[in-house]
């Protein structure tokens, strides 16, 4: 059997094992190891299998992952999500669709200190959805926006997915974070405008749900109360953007500040910080386990020469970067329905990234587009984890209503992706 045929067999085996419900990391480890044994023989493989689990983890640059995870968990323990919501509500609560719009901005605000879409959706939905339902918003308008806007957690830096993309492709984390700023806040703005027009179509709903306009004093007070969010964002992203700190250093300082904020919180839930620590540990372990699997699989797949062959085949088709990116949307959207974003990156990048490089597509642009497709995957059935999280956070919510609620936002997302493909400067203009 030729190495290329072994490569195809490996991809087939990955699909079969994943559908069989074997964890993604173990699937990649097993298939990668089997592929290596088939190509290199026992002698050439044993050394790699003995050392790869350790060498894939023991890398100073990877310290950034547990530190940003810790920062997100501690930001949640510090109650920053509620403060972000109260501040956003004081500014936009009085306009048509004020509360869902405030929810979107609260998600964007909390995303600046938390890199997880699940954490963002879970924390914001607990605060906002019951209030919106009480005010008379239908379930789809109360829960849909928080499910999709929660996914901003993986786009607005510091983003867990962008860190993973950076590790899988060797693209600079700082560039990815900076490149994600405009698309992240633009997405929040597009959602807000969309919500405004969706609610304005129903005058009765506008009348029922409009809040009294907050005074400038109230706005200033609510915004000042959320000072921790602003400080964390400035310290983390400001220091990276200005070149004062590397991503690892910014993550360390951010986690330290978040710990101080969590410790200073007076109404802190008992055990919240300990729970955050346990979650940071096990989240780090499951991500690194994927990285070990990806390392074994990438080495094996690289040995088969299949990625290089595919890259040269696609290059031979003479597709323009725009056509190639448009064609890649479909498989990523389909994958996103079944596989979580982190796994999707580790599974696809060994094959897709060489093609992207060969086509001359900006790797930061591609990272942002993939992240936006993962955002869509977070709310589309059957996996749609954010929809489940929102449903689980608020008793009585119907899953079908949440899925109905996110449909308009999926179209907005696709519109933004197409815009970025045709105007890459939306992402690249801020890159130095």
């Amino acid at each position: 059997m030729s190495p290329i045929e072994i490569g195809y067999l490996m991809i087939g085996a990955v699909i079969v094992l994943l559908l069989g419900g074997i964890p993604v990391a173990l699937t990649l480890m097993a298939v990668g190891a089997a592929g290596l044994f088939a190509i290199r023989g026992v002698r050439g493989t044993v050394f790699l299998i003995e050392s790869l689990p350790y060498t894939s983890v023991a890398n100073l640059a990877l310290i950034v992952i547990p530190l940003f995870l810790l920062m997100g968990h501690l930001a949640f323990s510090a109650g920053l999500s509620e403060k972000a919501y109260r501040s956003a509500k004081s500014w936009v609560g009085h306009i048509a669709g004020g509360l869902p719009i405030a929810t979107v901005f609260a998600c964007a605000g909390f995303s600046t200190v938390c890199g997880s879409s699940v954490a963002t959706a879970a924390t914001i939905s607990k605060v906002t959805v019951p209030e919106m339902l009480r005010m008379g918003y239908p379930q789809r308008l109360a829960a849909g926006p928080v499910a999709i806007a929660g996914a901003l957690g993986i786009l607005i830096p510091p983003s867990g997915i962008l860190i993973i993309y950076s590790i899988a492709t060797n693209v600079s984390i700082a560039d990815l974070f900076i490149g994600a700023l405009i698309p992240g806040f633009l997405t929040a703005l597009v959602y807000a405008v969309g919500l405004y027009f969706m609610v304005r179509r129903d005058p009765e709903l506008v009348r029922r749900t409009r809040l009294p306009k907050a005074s400038w004093k109230e706005r200033a007070s609510a915004t000042l109360a959320a000072w921790e969010v602003v400080v964390l964002f400035i310290v983390v992203i400001g220091s990276i953007y200005s070149g004062l700190a590397t991503a690892t250093e910014a993550a360390g300082i951010g986690a330290c500040l978040a710990l101080v904020f969590a410790l200073l919180r007076k109404d802190r839930q008992k055990g919240a910080i300990w729970n955050g620590l346990l979650e940071t540990g096990s989240s780090s372990a499951s991500i690194f386990m994927l990285m070990i699997g990806s390392a074994v699989f990438s080495v094996a797949l690289g040995t088969t020469q299949l990625p290089a062959l595919l890259a040269s085949t696609v290059a031979g088709m003479n597709l323009s970067p725009v056509t190639l990116l448009l064609l890649l949307i479909v498989p990523y959207m389909v994958l996103g329905c079944f596989i979580d974003g982190i796994s999707m990156i580790f599974i696809t990048m060994p094959v897709v990234f060489p093609i992207i490089e060969q086509a001359g597509i900006h790797p930061v642009l591609f990272g942002i587009i993939v992240t936006k497709l993962i955002e869509i995957g977070a709310v589309t059935p059957p996996v749609g984890i954010n929809a489940f999280v929102v449903q689980g956070s608020v008793p009585g919510l119907k899953l079908g209503e949440i899925y109905r609620g996110v449909v308009p936002f999926i179209f907005m997302e696709l519109l933004l992706i197409v815009l970025m493909i045709f105007f890459p400067s939306i992402v690249t203009v801020v890159l130095r």
Binding site: G21, Y54, V57, P66, I253, L277, A285, I287, M289, A378
Partner: protein
């Protein structure tokens, strides 16, 4: 009667052992979280030293790598106890409950073999590294062998947790294997 007594006590002992091992792994997960705080506390003074005095603290980078290995491999079995390892569960929704039990048992058995295989090779690597007292030579010489032992320990305990999950699934005992967190396994 003797068989019934043996079965009863065997069952009780298995339950106790199962709980002890899972509790131990969860405890290691907590240690991993504490190690993350230590990692954070090691990064910040290093930044301050470099900013204020223009010099890094010697050995901090190496200690950071050691802590990272500790965080990852200690929490690996805890992540399985909490069902946090990423997986695709498309088939689960369409399978009937009785079939699901055996599918789960087969799944966990496959996972036991895969993680056991990697644990076996990690143990071999750790023994070889310990025998030659392997060190890394960067700014300071730092022992690597303790980290390799940790890697082997983490993978071995992961295989043990998968084995317990297999036995639980075969016995139809869902209580011991119930996930601690309903949305676990998703860090997006």
């Amino acid at each position: 009667m003797a068989a019934a007594a043996f079965s009863f006590f065997g069952h009780a002992m298995y339950i106790r052992l199962n709980r002890c091992l899972r509790g131990f792994c969860a405890g290691l997960g907590m240690l991993s979280g504490i190690a993350t705080v230590l990692l954070m506390l090691s990064v910040v003074p290093d930044i301050l030293a470099r900013t204020l005095f223009g010099e890094a603290i010697y050995g901090m980078a190496e200690a950071g790598i050691m802590l990272l290995v500790l965080i990852v491999f200690l929490a690996m079995p805890a992540a399985q106890v909490r069902r946090e390892h990423f997986q695709v569960s498309v088939l689960d929704a369409v399978l009937p409950a009785p079939a699901m039990r055996w599918v789960q048992a087969c799944r966990y058995l496959v996972c036991t073999f895969i993680s056991g295989g990697f644990a076996w090779y990690a143990i071999r690597g750790a023994i070889a590294s310990t025998q030659r007292l392997e060190q890394s030579y960067a700014v300071v010489a730092f022992p690597v062998w303790p980290a390799k032992i940790l890697a082997a320990l983490g993978l071995t305990l992961l295989a043990v947790v998968f084995l317990l999950d297999t036995l639980d699934a075969c016995r139809g005992d869902s209580a011991a294997a119930a996930p601690a967190n309903p949305v676990a396994g998703e860090q997006e």
